[in-house]
Amino acid sequence: MSSKHVEEVDRVAIRFSGDSGDGMQLTGTKFTETTALAGNDLSTFPDFPAEIRAPAGTLAGVSGFQVHFASSDIRTPADAPDVLVALNPAALRANVGDLRPKGMLIVNSDAFVERNLKLAGYDADPLPPLRDRFQLIEVPLTRLNREALKDLNISQREADRSKNFFALGLMYWLYHRDTKPTLEWIDAKFSGDVREANRRVLLAGHAYGETAEIFPTSYVVPAAKIEPGRYRNITGNQALAWGIVAAGVQMNRPIFLGAYPITPASDILHELARYRHFGVKTFQAEDEIAAIGAAVGASYAGQLGICTTSGPGFVLKQEALNLAVMVELPLVVVDVQRAGPSTGMPTKVEQGDLLLALYGRNSDSPVVVLAPATPGDCFTIMLEAFRLAVKYMTPVVVLSDGFLANSAEPWRIPEVASLPRTEVKYAPPGAGPYKPYLRDPETLARSWAIPGTPGLEHRVGGLEKEDESGNISYSPTNHEKMVRLRAEKVARAVQDVPALEPFGASKGDLLVIGWGSTHGAITTAVDEARNAGLDVASIHLRHLNPLPANLPDVLSRFRRFLVPELNLGHLSLLLRGRYLVDAKSLTKVQGQPFKVSEIRAAIEAVLRGEDPMQTAAKETRS
C-alpha cells in the first residue's frame, strides 16, 4: 500500500459521471460491491437518462452513479458528493453544481477539447475558475488508458471503452479498496483481449494513483458496526423479485407473473424469468391490459397472480384491477412509480400514483395499498402483499418507485426459517349449489374455489352479484350491501397492520409523516434535527390502505405535522381529509429524491410557524 499520507474518514460520497455509453452504472455498481465487501454501510443513487445512447458528449446523455459509504449507519446516498469523477465536460456541467465546496473534482483532461466543450455548452475552458473552489485533479485518462493497452490487438474505440475501469482503479487506490473482486468478475464476464484490456486498465488506474504525484493523501473508511449476520448488496427491484419468489416458496403455490416491458419495472420481469425451477411462470404479454388479465386468470385458477408495471401501465390496468375487486380474487400489482404525467421522465423518481392506487377506478373500489421504505424492505413487503391478498381475497397494490428500484444497500440475508409461512386453502369439493360469496365472519373473505374442484362449478364476473349466492343482482339494497361489504373487508385488513412506533419521540411538537422511498432522507433529517435540540419525530407509513389503527392516537400526541412527498401532496390530502389535521406539505417533483437538507429546512420552517413550501421557494431563489 501507499507510503503517502493516509487519512481516516467516517463517510464519503462519490459520484461517477460520464456519457451514458461510458459505463458509469457498471463502474458505480462495481465500486459499490467492493465497498460492501469492505464492510461499510452504504447507499447508492443511480441516475441515468431514458435514452439508451443519447448523442455523445451532450448534457442529455449524462449518466451518473452516486455511492455514499461510511463507517456508521447511513440511510441516504448523501445530499452532495465529496468527490466528483467527470469523464467529459457535459458530465462536469451537469454535476459540478452538486459537489460540496472544496470537494475533490477528478476530470478526464483529455476530454476537455473544443468539440466536447461546445457540445456541453461551454464557451471557454471551465476548469481554471474551478481550481479555487475544488481540489481539481486533472488526469489524462484517455491517453493513459490507450498507453496501457497499446500492445493489445484491439481497436482504439474498444480501448477507449475500457477507460471507466481506469477511473475505477484510481478510486480503488484512493479509498484503499481491494481490486480482487472486480478482477474476478472481469475474468468471469469477459474473455480474450477484452478481458485482458479490462484487467490491465483497472490495475493501471490503481498504479497511477500510487505513483503519480497528484494525490497527496489517500483515505480509509473503516468498516461500519452493523448488526451481525450474513450480508449482500441488494437493489429494490432485485429484492422485490426475490420477495415474489420467496412468497411462492413460503405459500407453496406457483407464481404467475404477467408483465409488459416498462421502465423502471422491467428488471423485475428479467429477474423472475430466471427462476422457472421455482415453478415461476412469467408471461410477457402483448400489452399492460393483457398482462393483468393473465395474472387475474392465473389467480382465478388458484395460482399466485402478480403483475409489475409503472405509472402509464398502472393506468391501463385499472379496469382489470376493478374486476379483481369485484370478483374478490387475490392479486398483487406492483407499480414502480416514475415521474409523470403521461410518459414523463421514465427513469426518474416520483410518488405521484398514491391517489391513483387508492381511488383510480370507477366507483368505490377498495384495494390494500402497501409501500416499501427501503430497497431491502421491497423483499419483506412482497411476502406481506401476497399474504394479505390471499387472506382477504383482495387485490393488493405495492407502490415502489424509480429510486428504490435502482438504488442499493447492504441487506442482511434473512434465514428462510424466520420468514412467515402462509397456508393457502382452497374451498373443498362439495355437493349442492356452491355459494361463492359466502364470507368468513372474521375477515369477510370469500372462499377460493378453483376450477378442477368437483361440485363447486360457479360463475363470477363484473356484474353486481347477490350476497352469498353470487347470482347477478340489480337489487338496490343488495348493491349497497355489497359496496359496503367490499369496503369493510379491505378495512378489516387493519388487524394485520402493525401499530406505528414513532421514530425519535412518542409525543412532541412536530411529527414528520412519510411513505415510500423518502424514508432514508426523512429519518436522517429528523435525527439531525433532534441532535440539534429540535422537538421532532417521524412515522413512516408502509400501509397506505388500510392505515394503521393507532394512527389517530399517534397524531393526537403531536401539535404540528409535516408531510414530505415527491408529488403535489397526495398523502397530506388524505390525512387532512380523514383526520382533520393541519398537515403541511413539503412537495418536490424534480425526478430526484429529497435531500436531507431540504427536509431539515422544512422541519425548521414548520417549527417557526412558516409554510415549508414558501421557505423552500425562498431558498431556491437565494
Binding site: 448488496n233 425451477h277 428462510v416 360463475r459 364476473g461
Partner: protein
C-alpha cells in the same frame, strides 16, 4: 391429463345452469347454447375441468348459462384471462366466448396475440355484425354502408373478416359454422375441442332485434345450397343445387367459379380439392376471401395444422428447468453471488 380423463356419464342437462337465460326471443345464441350443452358430455371432459371465459356483450353472457366454471370478464379482454388460466393450469379445458365487437374491435389486439401464441383454447366468436347489448351500433364486421343507430346514412368503415384476421395471426385451426345448423355446429365444436392449440371458430349468429336476417340465406335451408360452400377435407369445392352445380377454381391465388354438370367430374374441371392441412395459410386465406354475393360463403374447417401450444411449451420449460437445476432452493438463492459476514 385430467381434462381428458374418463368422465362419469353426463347428459346435456348436467351442463345447464340454474340461471334464467336472458337473451331476446329468437336470438341465435339460444341455438348455440343448446348445441354447446349437447356436445359437452360427448367430449369426455370432467365438468369441473371446464372453464368458460367471456368479455362483454350479448354473447359474453354465455358462461352464466353453463353449469361449469365460468368467468365473465371485461370488454375485449377475455383471451387474456383465458391465457392466464390455461398457461397456469394446462389440464383445464378453456373456452372463450366472444362477439364481433368484443373480439375484433376493443379486443382485437388480444385475439391477435392469443392466436399467434397458439394457446390451447377454443375461441367461439359469435358474429352478428352489430353491437346488440348497446342497442344497435355498427360493428367491425358490418358491411360498408350498413345503416345503424350510429351510422344513419351508412357505415364508412371497411369491414374485417374474422377468419382472414385469424389466419393472418397464424391460426392453426380456423372454422366457420352457423347458429341454427345443429349438426354442423356440433361437428365443428368436436373438431375445435380435439385441436391442440388455438381453435378459432366463427359462428354466424342472427340478431333478430338489431340486424335481423343478416345471414338469412345461409341459415335458411331453402337457399343454403346456393349461398354456402360446405368444406370437407379431401372433397372438391362444389356448391349449388341440382341443375346449378358449380365449383371453385383457384389460379394464382385468385378464386373463380366454374359451372358443372350434375354428374360431371369436378376435379377434372380444375375444381380445387379441399385440404385443411396446407403448411401455408395462403389457401385458407383465399377461401376466406370468398364472400357473398359474388361467391358462396364457405362453412366448415378452413385450416387445421399442428404447432406446439404456448401452454404446453411453458409447462415443459418449467419441468426442464427443474430437471436441469433441481427444484428451487430459496436459501441458496438468497446466498448467491457476493456476500459477506459481519461478526458479533
Amino acid at each position: 391429463m385430467s381434462a381428458d380423463a374418463v368422465a362419469p356419464a353426463l347428459a346435456r342437462k348436467d351442463f345447464v345452469s340454474d340461471q334464467d337465460v336472458r337473451w331476446c326471443p329468437g336470438c341465435g345464441d339460444y341455438s348455440i347454447l343448446a348445441n354447446v350443452q349437447k356436445v359437452m358430455p360427448e367430449l369426455g371432459v370432467l365438468r369441473e375441468n371446464v372453464v368458460f371465459v367471456s368479455g362483454i356483450g350479448c354473447s359474453s353472457r354465455f358462461p352464466y348459462y353453463m353449469n361449469t366454471y365460468g368467468f365473465h370478464t371485461i370488454h375485449g379482454r377475455a383471451p387474456s384471462f383465458a391465457t392466464g388460466i390455461k398457461a397456469s393450469r394446462p389440464e383445464l379445458s378453456v373456452w372463450v366466448v366472444t362477439g364481433d365487437g368484443d373480439g375484433l374491435s376493443i379486443g382485437g389486439n388480444h385475439l391477435l396475440h392469443t392466436i399467434r401464441r397458439n394457446v390451447d383454447l377454443q375461441i367461439l366468436l359469435f358474429n352478428n355484425r352489430i353491437y346488440g347489448l348497446t342497442k344497435g351500433q355498427y360493428s367491425p364486421t358490418s358491411r360498408l354502408g350498413a345503416k345503424s343507430k350510429s351510422t344513419p346514412t351508412g357505415s364508412l368503415d371497411h369491414p374485417i373478416d374474422p377468419l382472414s384476421f385469424a389466419l393472418g395471426a397464424g391460426a392453426t385451426f380456423v372454422a366457420r359454422t352457423v347458429d341454427v345448423d345443429a349438426k354442423h355446429l356440433q361437428e365443428i365444436l368436436h373438431r375445435a375441442h380435439a385441436h391442440k392449440g388455438t381453435a378459432f371458430v366463427e359462428i354466424l349468429q342472427n340478431c333478430p332485434v338489431y340486424n335481423d336476417n343478416e345471414w338469412g340465406e345461409i341459415e335458411d335451408r331453402a337457399t343454403r345450397a346456393e349461398a354456402a360452400l360446405v368444406l370437407e377435407h379431401g372433397k372438391p369445392l362444389v356448391f349449388g343445387p341440382k341443375g346449378a352445380r358449380r365449383g371453385i377454381r383457384i389460379e394464382r391465388g385468385i378464386p373463380s367459379i366454374v359451372s358443372l354438370g350434375d354428374d360431371e367430374d369436378a376435379v377434372a374441371k380444375g375444381v380445387v380439392v379441399h385440404d385443411e392441412r396446407y403448411e401455408t395459410p395462403a389457401y385458407a386465406f383465399a377461401l376466406a376471401s370468398l364472400q357473398r354475393p359474388a361467391f358462396p360463403l364457405p362453412v366448415g374447417v378452413f385450416r387445421a395444422v399442428e404447432k406446439p401450444s404456448y401452454d404446453a411449451q411453458l409447462a415443459s420449460a418449467v419441468d426442464e428447468a427443474i430437471a436441469k437445476r433441481g427444484p428451487g432452493d430459496l436459501a441458496a438463492l438468497l446466498q448467491s453471488g457476493d456476500t459477506w459476514t459481519v461478526g458479533s
